[in-house]
């Protein structure tokens, strides 16, 4: 009952806050345990020390707090977006890497990389309300906007686990290519994309049948197949364009989603992993893990217009907008 009231409050709170978002860009840096903050003009306006080895980032539904997964000290921490002060901390979450927030704004589905499971953390009570055994090294987590499924990729198991949220069971394990990392869902909710780092492809899963239906490979100029190690995926709201960070191939691939074809490659920096598209979809932020910078791609021109030094091994990017 209390949970219900709380969820209701969250819903109420979510609506009015929308008007004035800061436009700030937050970047987690896993090796230096810092969060860097960029303003709307892509200038670094500050940084703060976070919990240890911060990787996954997400805002709370009302965007007042930033949720950070810290694998180094087994913590999920929440920072106030305006003051950047620690608000709340959940300890003893084993090696959290990435996570997604359920549409109820309360349940965090977390991949626990070292313990081969996905857990559900209730942000209201701090209780862990669910444990789902996965293959080894679970990584990417994506919850469908209708709250029906949570998908979890197991890097070392080459599997995508499908958690039926209502029934709270692992409904299916789908075989995918080697080392699945991150997900993207087409806006119509019909296709789930999963990047497979070692196989060098993005596999496409049909959400209705939960089967793998296709695969997309990459061949950027001057790079060998072995260097193509895709990780993060971004997609526009119209579901026409997608971007895939190609890791050691130092490029981001631009994809025509309907035709499932690569239409361009953009050289961005060393080992790009994390991606984020700006709200107006004019800029793509790219976290280059081995050159410690954020490349900003002008989406219309398909070119890097700026590279901004941040902390050591930038990982994830989120924008408060």
């Amino acid at each position: 009952m209390r949970a219900l009231i709380f969820a209701g409050l969250l819903l109420l709170a979510a609506t009015p806050a929308r008007a004035e978002r800061s436009g700030l860009v937050f970047v987690s840096n896993e090796r230096s345990s810092q969060i860097f903050v960029l303003d709307r003009n892509d200038v670094v306006v500050g940084s703060f020390a976070s919990c240890a080895r911060p990787r996954g980032l997400h805002f709370t539904k009302d965007h007042t707090q930033l949720i950070v997964a810290c694998g180094g000290d087994n913590t999920i921490a929440m920072y106030d977006v305006a003051t950047r002060k620690l608000v709340r901390r959940f300890r003893d979450v084993p090696d959290p890497e990435t996570f997604d927030l359920a549409p109820n704004g309360r349940d965090l589905y977390i991949s626990n990389e070292d313990s081969a499971e996905a857990t559900v953390l209730n942000l209201e009570t701090g209780e862990v309300t669910g444990h789902f055994p996965t293959g080894e090294e679970p990584e990417g987590v994506l919850i469908t906007p209708d709250g029906k499924f949570a998908f979890v990729a197991s890097e070392a198991g080459n599997l995508v686990h499908v958690i039926d949220i209502a029934a709270q069971v692992v409904k299916k394990d789908i075989f995918v290519s080697e080392r699945p990392r991150r997900f993207a869902l087409t806006p119509d909710g019909k296709s789930l994309w999963v990047s497979c780092e070692i196989a060098g492809v993005v596999d496409v899963i049909d959400v209705a049948s939960l089967t793998r239906t296709g695969s997309l490979s990459f061949a950027p100029r001057g790079m060998t197949r072995d260097e193509v190690t895709p990780v993060d995926i971004a997609m526009n709201r119209a579901g026409t364009r997608a971007w895939v960070a190609l890791g050691r191939a130092n490029n981001v691939a631009v994809i025509d989603v309907q035709r499932l074809e690569v239409i361009d490659y953009i050289l961005v920096g060393r080992r790009p992993w994390g991606l984020r598209l700006s709200g107006d979809e004019t800029k793509l932020y790219v976290a280059n893990g081995l050159s410690d910078d954020i490349a900003i791609v002008d989406v219309a021109r398909g070119k890097v217009v700026k590279a901004i030094p941040v902390g050591i091994i930038p990982y994830a990017i989120v924008i408060d907008e």
Binding site: D114, H131, P133, G135, A156, L159, K171, D173, F175
Partner: protein, 386 residues
């Protein structure tokens, strides 16, 4: 509490598909000299290496979810042969196992592979000699450790890349030292390094033989960028980095070494594997542990995803290269058709750090840069089965 969690986990599993057994047999031998705690002539006790069964056992635990997805009941069975037992008979009695992991010496591995007669995969997890790869050519023996040539190729690429092209070779008295030094000479030539001198080393303090037992003297007259030490007994070589007449880096069996695995590897998902192993076994993961771990993954991959139906099917999938493995070294590994060597990155490491991974950037190959390392098809006495 733990029990409660276990119950929750159990409930959270969906109903398993119909289950089939997949058994992998690990063979070892009693009184194996490889595991004797050696007391070298220097009186320093070197602890015996741990048996690598835990590596295979961890892999069996790692593939639980794959077992769940496919209805495979994956098991590891271990059998220790008596010191004088016939390994060939043990292989013929391996059923129902569909593959054998051999924690065995090279001679036993060869006998096991011959007994398997191409119908059963046998995995070599600790022998790195080129000789075994040549002798086992045409059998169903699969080699997980990089070959000696693969290792010296990795080191040669590294020195050439750093423009340390003039190499002084210091070779110990053992046959294995000479084999290693010769392999490096071939690798150096292949990648463009130059051997400025090859000096044999003998143990001892005899002043009349000081040109062979004093590292300072042996290195005084030569201009070199780097010293390659071939001392497989890890005896005189340990002091070489601080005994040279010139301050130069040392590679080979001391200093920068080539290896298959390192508990300190910090990229490509290796920390997760190492943490998992350390928790599971209570010790760091050795290269042999890792090799046994790879062998289990290879078998499961062949069955679960490449639909090998039986032991012979596994051999087929492994040798045709269709089994691609993520071995936590950043590139997909697979077995070469011509010598059944695992095609993989080689780690370049010191005693306390991973320095680089070969293939080193800039060394190219028409198929995969991984094939710049190790024996090529032309080096093998026989051709692949098909």
């Amino acid at each position: 509490m733990n029990r409660l969690l276990a119950a929750i986990c159990f409930l959270a599993w969906s109903a398993p598909a119909m289950s089939r057994d997949l058994t992998i047999l690990m063979l070892s031998r009693a009184e194996d000299p490889f595991y004797a705690a050696s007391v070298a002539d220097d009186g320093v006790a070197r602890p015996a290496p741990p048996r690598p069964r835990a590596g295979a056992a961890l892999a069996v635990r790692d593939v639980r979810a794959i077992g769940r997805a496919t209805g495979l009941e994956i098991r590891l069975e271990s059998r220790e042969l008596a010191a004088d037992a016939d390994v060939a008979q043990a292989v013929r009695d391996a059923g129902p196992a569909v593959a054998v992991i051999g924690d065995l010496a090279g001679s036993d591995l060869l006998a096991a592979a011959k007994a398997a007669a191409g119908m059963l995969a046998v995995f070599n997890i600790r022998d790195d000699t080129d000789a075994l790869r040549r002798a086992a050519c045409g059998t169903s023996l699969f080699h997980v450790p990089a070959s000696t040539t693969g290792q010296t190729d990795a080191l040669a690429q590294f020195v050439v890349r750093h423009n340390w092209k003039n190499v002084l070779l210091l070779t110990g008295p053992l046959e294995a030292d000479r084999v290693l030094a010769s392999a490096f000479v071939v690798s150096a030539k292949k990648f463009g390094a130059r051997i400025v001198a090859d000096k044999p080393f003998v143990m001892g303090n005899d002043p009349r033989r000081r040109e062979q037992n004093s590292v300072a003297l042996m290195s005084y007259a030569e201009e070199f960028d780097v010293a390659f030490v071939a001392d497989t007994a890890h005896d005189f070589g340990r002091a070489v980095p601080y005994a040279l007449a010139r301050p130069r880096p040392v590679i080979g069996t001391v200093g920068l070494m080539a290896g298959d695995w390192d508990p300190l590897a910090d990229r490509f998902g290796a920390p997760q594997v190492n943490n998992r192993f350390a928790k599971f076994a209570g010790r760091p993961m050795t290269p042999a542990d890792w090799a046994a771990w790879v062998a289990v993954h290879a078998v499961v991959e062949a069955v679960a995803r490449k639909s090998a139906a039986d032991a012979a099917g596994i051999v087929q999938r492994l040798q045709d290269g269709s089994v691609q493995l993520d071995v936590s070294k950043g590139m997909a590994a697979s077995f070469r058709s011509w010598d059944h060597q695992l095609r993989q990155p080689v780690i370049l490491r010191t005693a306390d750090a991973v320095i680089d991974y070969a293939p080193i950037e800039g060394f190219l190959h028409q198929v995969t840069t991984l094939d710049t390392l190790g024996l090529g098809a032309v080096d093998m006495p026989c051709k692949p089965a098909r």
